[in-house]
Symmetry: C2
Subunit: 184 residues, 2 copies
DNA sequence: ACACACATGTAATTGGTTACATGATTTC
DNA sequence: GAAATCATGTAACCAATTACATGTGTGT
């Protein structure tokens, strides 16, 4: 049976740590895979219900007295098997969509200042991203010593850092070229 | 009025070269922006009809005797204005989705050979992509000398090449780490 | 004769976003 | 008392993919 990518994200997140709710899954996404994988609540909550109906995860109310309305989920053996099955099949290439590059590609139709502004935005975003990722690297190492997932998390992190650094280097030379053509 | 991203891709492609059909737009995408922007016929054809109905492009049957059924479109002044307007607004960040990285992130749930296979696939794809982009760079320079779009196209190309090279470098070290952990 | 590239389109479905709706708890 | 965070969900909408359907022209 084919499932949405969101379903596997949820299964994977529950495999790392059981007893997570929709809310904490979203938070976990934000603090880990966010720079290469986005998810919204509107997708997570229905997916949790669907996976529970299919027997891949089980729900139970949280035991906390202070936050009683929280629904926590955990993987069933079937859920874990489903995750492993998915992991083993070749990854699919998600359709690329980079509006920044598209606007740059059509840059000649606008004033040079337009493309320069996009480039500065891009640079700013990537600087912030790099700072976030470097922080995350430090935190991840600190809080997950001995965690068997750590080496995999580090691989995705070093990928993100390398890509971001390369993007920043490129943006410097791109800005030099565009600024030169604009007023040099 | 907000339009789909596909609409702007179409307007942009027609701004570069008028008298293009759905088919040739798709081909142009394949030979230029494909590595950062995907489009399917199922999206392009309806978009052309919609844009024509809105007066942003005009259709006319191709004059070629050999291919009479081809519908060719060109920008109207309104269409060009619409493109410029879009170019001037800040680019939006498309939701990232990288299934390769997601499988790697959850790699600990599968046998090490699974992640190694994904990494090799990734490497192979990036090698092919790099070759394509480098070829494209040569071709673009050769066939577009003096084309005022060239510098913008080159910027997107050098970005793609830099990112791909960085991905390949990373994949080498990632494979070394995983292979070492697997059988070292 | 066959295969491939040219060429255009539609329909069903899915996947996902966004806005909306609600309310408890914690912190200042 | 207000604001922020915790927490869960639904409904409307839209963007896009995929499969389907059809037919011509060209080259081998």
């Amino acid at each position: 049976m084919q499932r949405s990518q969101t379903a596997y994200l949820v299964l994977g997140m529950l495999s790392i740590e059981p007893n997570r709710s929709g809310y904490t899954i979203r938070k976990a996404v934000e603090g880990s895979v966010n720079y290469f994988w986005g998810e919204s609540y509107g997708q997570i909550y229905p997916t949790l219900k669907r996976l529970a109906a299919q027997g891949l995860i089980v729900a139970r109310a949280s035991t906390s007295a202070t936050r009683p309305r929280r629904q926590e989920y955990s993987l069933t053996p079937a859920g874990h098997a489903c995750l492993e099955e998915w992991l083993a099949v070749p990854y699919r290439d998600d359709r690329p969509r980079n509006e920044f590059l598209l606007k740059l590609f059509f840059g000649r139709e606008a004033a040079p200042s337009v493309s320069i502004r996009h480039l500065r935005d891009f640079q700013e975003k990537n600087r912030r991203l790099l700072a976030t990722l470097v922080d995350l690297e430090t935190l991840a190492r600190k809080h997950n010593a001995g965690n068997p997932n750590l080496s995999f998390w580090m691989l995705t992190l070093t990928f993100g850092i390398a890509q971001t650094r390369s993007a920043l280097e490129w943006s410097e030379s791109a800005l030099a070229i565009l600024s030169g053509a604009n007023n040099g």
